[in-house]
């Protein structure tokens, strides 16, 4: 008889991340990639439709504005915002900018990213609105 008590893994292989808020947030970032993939495929299909004919392009637009299309894009939009905020949050950990002897504070770095994000977004929207 041995007194050995081997460790048995209690965690589920598929839902381990449900055990902590930190892991849930982590999985939320990871899952955003599913929406990036689907959205990219939708864009590529749109480009093919655009090259085909006017009717094909307008058919693509109709599909985008169908109920399923609207639901998908709203959910994907939320995930893209999660991706943006979590990506910017990690910037100070990934980038260290020295100003003289001092490290540039993280909040300035993150703030600058949001500033550029606002300018880029505005540029895209103005471009689309002007036509």
């Amino acid at each position: 008889m041995s007194g050995r008590k081997p460790y048995k893994q209690q965690l589920s292989r598929t839902c381990w991340f449900m055990t902590s808020a930190r892991y849930k947030t982590y999985m939320l970032h990871e899952i955003s990639s599913i929406f990036v993939t689907i959205y990219t495929i939708i864009l590529i299909v749109g480009l093919f439709r655009l090259g085909e004919s006017r009717e094909a392009w307008e058919g693509w637009l109709a599909a985008v504005t169908s109920p399923i299309g609207i639901i998908f894009h709203l959910v994907a939009f939320a995930f893209f915002l999660i991706h943006t905020t979590s990506w910017f949050k990690a910037v100070p950990q990934a980038t260290r900018i020295m100003r003289g002897e001092e490290v540039l504070p993280g909040n300035i770095l993150v703030g600058a990213h949001y500033g550029v994000f606002a300018i880029v977004s505005l540029f895209f929207i103005v471009l689309a609105a002007v036509g």
């Binding site: 599913i34 990036v36 959205y39 939708i42 093919f48 637009l61 894009h73 939009f77 990506w87 689309a128």
Partner: protein
């Protein structure tokens, strides 16, 4: 550790993941607002997304290259992250997963080039 380390292909995928993540963070919310949400609420479908307007825009080389860059990086960023995702959901056949996902990203990249070249 030897002083001269062999370059690893991992670096390429990691670079594409990081570059793609950064580009996606900056441009994807605005892009999906324009192409996905705008038309549903009557924005852009008479302006930027109207056929003559968008066809003319993507007939130009700079918009073509810019959109190619965004889609290319988004595809490879997502492929790398989905590979990690598969592992996190308990799928341990990493080489098959990697081959499938990077293969799909390659197909997506080629499809984007073909689609863009057919416009204009």
């Amino acid at each position: 550790m030897s002083a001269v380390s062999k370059p690893s292909p991992k670096a390429i995928f990691w670079f594409l993941f990081a570059a793609g993540g950064t580009v996606c963070a900056f441009v994807l919310p605005a892009m999906i607002f324009i192409t996905g949400i705008g038309p549903a609420i009557g924005l852009f479908d008479q302006s930027g997304l109207s056929y003559p307007s968008i066809y003319g825009f993507f007939s130009l080389w700079i918009p073509k290259l810019a959109l190619f860059g965004i889609i290319f990086l988004a595809l490879w960023h997502a492929a790398h992250r989905l590979r990690v995702c598969a592992h996190d959901f308990g799928i341990r056949a990493d080489s098959i997963v990697a081959l499938t996902l990077y293969g799909l990203a390659t197909i997506g990249t080629l499809a984007t080039i073909i689609a863009l070249l057919r416009i204009g």
